[in-house]
Amino acid sequence: MSYREIVWNGLWKQNSGIVQLLGMCPLLAMSNSVVNAAGLGIATIAVMALSNWAVALLRSLIPYEIRIPVFILIIAALVTVVDLAMNAWLHSLYLVLGIFIPLIVTNCIVLARVEAFAAKNPPVASALDGAMMGLGLTLVLIVLGAVREFVGTGALFAGIDMIVPSARAVQILPADYPGFLVAVLPPGAFIVLGFLIALRNWIEARAERRRQRAMSLDTAAAPA
């Protein structure tokens, strides 16, 4: 598989958030604001690239029968190492992302990519696959987070001062907007995710119709 295909797969064709629908637990729990979504997304990208790379390196040593426990062991150990290292040496970043990192172990997309890709491919391609799957998930997370935060609270970027101290949340609707709690709670995540999946399916279906029309035009034109 070419690097280009890997990128396209992760971002659109096999997007983990709206096509594979893997990793729903953190996706639904953490996408209630842009900052939370971006935080979880960045941590997920790092862990997925790292675990895919590590498994690809060790893949010839892992017996097929026990690959799943070994994969889980590797992922859990790496997440723990990332968690501790960030806490020790990148403490200000840890204060923002720290709570998200243990959540990543529960994300089955990490295990899914290790099993489906890293177990059969060389380290560099695997790391890229992990990063792109993570990025695809991050983009979905950020869109979900933005919609839910906007509908739920009328503002965007709450909590950004933890990442950029001088930045402030942007109040878009009037400050007396009463808020819409459902959007912030997990059901809101399901509802918005449903709309996102529908939107993606619509775009795909339209592209498919165009392709078919172009093809039928080609065949119609060819004999003449």
Binding site: A29, M30, N32, S33, N36, R59, S60, L61, I62, P63, Y64, E65, I66, R67, P69, V70, L73, I74, A77, T80, V81, L84, A85, N87, A88, W89, H91, L95, I99, F100, A119, K120, T153, A155, A158, G159, M162, A169, L181, V184, L185
Partner: protein, 227 residues
């Protein structure tokens, strides 16, 4: 594609294969546990140091500098595990004095019953019996939902949830009403995330009780050498 394919399970070799696979799993477990243990050892000190530095910053947040004039960090006593504070380990109490007279106590406390486990608190109680301020030092509450107990995550920057304890003592809020409104108390909670607020409110009430009851004893206790 040669890697990670099923082995041909031949009848005579089945036991040997199981043993070998088991041994490989043990090797992987030992190897990665070693990696984790080494990382833990390498990061232990920096993590403790940054937790300590954070605590010093936090003391500044719960106790304004103007309220005391002694060397606060040196005027410290260690108290044994105190169930009233929700602590099962010895903890530090800092004693603030102004002109030699008791001004305030800075205590560590914990709420054991958060939505996701323990919530660590730091609070300052004035010698006159009111809470000066409370801060959450460590918690695992749901981000974006229960984490408003942490002032840095609270969306209401003008009037954060945790500040409603400021200036309240048993004279302002009777001892029986140190609960969230949902439980018949006097303190607000955010709808949909009551458990975090309930845990913190109850813990603050218990800690205030302890501080008020033991104030004289705590101020009189001989200080332990500063670390």
């Amino acid at each position: 594609m040669s890697e990670l394919q099923p082995h041909e399970p031949s009848a005579p070799g089945a036991t040997g294969l199981s043993m070998r696979t088991g041994a490989i799993l043990v090797v992987f477990t030992v190897a990665f546990t070693t990696v984790m243990a080494l990382t833990y050892r390498a990061t232990k000190e920096p993590i403790e140091a940054s937790a300590q530095a954070e605590k010093l910053n936090l003391i500044g947040e719960v106790l304004p500098r103007a309220l005391y004039d002694n060397a606060l960090l040196d005027d410290r006593i260690m108290i044994p595990p105190t169930p009233e504070l929700g602590l099962d380990q010895a903890s530090a109490v800092y004693r603030a004095r102004k002109g030699g007279a008791p001004a305030a106590l800075v205590l560590e406390a914990a709420a054991p019953d958060g939505y996701s486990g323990r919530i660590d608190l730091l609070l300052a109680v004035a010698a006159s019996g009111e809470v000066i301020a409370v801060r959450v030092t460590r918690h695992k509450e749901t981000p974006g939902l229960g984490d408003y107990i942490d002032i840095r995550k609270d969306k209401h920057k003008d009037r954060p949830w945790i500040t409603q304890f400021n200036g309240k003592g048993f004279a302002q809020v009777p001892a029986g009403e140190w609960h969230v409104r949902k439980d018949g108390g006097r303190f607000d909670q955010v709808a949909g995330a009551t458990i975090s607020a309930r845990a913190v409110t109850n813990a603050v009430g218990r800690a205030l009780r302890f501080a008020v009851d033991n104030e004289r004893r705590l101020f009189a206790a001989p200080g332990s050498a500063p670390s």
